[in-house]
Symmetry: C2
Subunit: 176 residues, 2 copies
DNA sequence: CTTAAGCGGAAGGTTGGCTTCCGGTTCTAT
DNA sequence: ATAGAACCGGAAGCCAACCTTCCGCTTAAG
């Protein structure tokens, strides 16, 4: 693969990430190309169809999250603290609707590994009594998607709130 | 206004609500018409353009929320309980992306009244020490939008969690 | 029974995005 | 340095989806 070709490939992926973040999974191919500083032709040569492009994006995204998880675990001795750190990072990193847009397409095996590892951590945090136990790993992933879909005010205002909601203490029935 | 005309108008509004909920603010006019069991012509005669239709929808929606608020206040003596009840109702009622889709279009004065009344309630709940005070009414409305955008698993799983997060006790810094 | 209000949906027009294709350009191996 | 394979850009053609208008037929209502 020629050097310029590789460079373009990377640029395209980056541009696609931004575009998908802002405009959803069906962001115009031409927009992606222009942002990458590349012609549509180039885009199509590298990724024959939108599906291929999205799949590449998904794989990259999952890998990034995986790295983030590793880092969080390394940095935080406490399981619950690691979960928090991972969620915070993911929300900041997961620009726009990427996660949601890719939820279906997402590379199955990589994603599964990610979920599996996160699950261990969550169970640990719950076993420690630090995290409420009526919310599972699947819920957590879902939560990340929601945040990813609402960039801007939502994450900054509500992330702490939700994290507090996830914290310790069993849920108590309040009404009735 | 002829009886059949009125009936059709109502049906259209209902169909539009569903369609917008599922497909967003730019749901095809023809889809709306067909669901209402009506020809496109009828739809256009009643609502000359999409904007008019959306405005009508928004107004109706805001009125519903206002009623809900009144009911919540009447039923619950405690301010914080009323806020909770209102939020729960809104999330259940606010099908799909209606709220978000209409956020911009929304009838200004009615919306303002709604926000104003909710604000009183929120302040009361906060003054009672029952609701955390670093989240305002605006945030609450935003929250409703987010929930409205993610029908299905999100509301049911996360609403209690978020409500717990809103509850009492000042936020405490946890990390660092 | 009359008639004005109302109705349906085909048709025409517009927009916006997808893909292909090919003449020109740039790497890179020798 | 240079040949030639790989690569590039973007104009052009195609298509699908949607909007909106229009008019002959239907029906409520007095």
């Amino acid at each position: 693969m020629r050097a310029d070709a590789r460079r373009n490939r990377d640029r395209i992926l980056e541009a696609a990430r931004d575009a998908v973040a802002e405009r959803g999974a069906d962001a115009p191919m031409e927009l992606i190309a222009r942002r990458a500083g590349v012609g549509v032709g180039t885009l199509y040569r590298r990724f024959p169809d939108r599906g291929t492009l999205l799949a590449a994006l998904a794989e990259q995204y999952v890998h990034e999250l995986m790295d983030a998880l590793d880092r969080a675990v390394a940095a935080e001795p406490d399981a619950w603290a690691a979960v928090r750190a991972f969620v915070v990072y993911s929300v900041e990193k997961g620009r726009g609707a990427i996660a949601a847009a890719l939820a279906g397409t997402s590379a199955p095996q990589a994603r599964q590994t990610l979920v599996q590892r996160l699950d261990e951590l969550v169970r640990q945090a719950q076993a420690d009594g630090a995290m409420r136990s009526d919310v599972g790993t699947g819920d957590l992933m879902e939560l990340l998607n929601v945040f990813a879909c609402h960039p801007g005010v939502i994450p900054e205002r509500f992330l702490p709130l939700v994290l507090d909601g996830l914290d310790r203490r069993q849920p108590r029935r309040r009404n009735k």
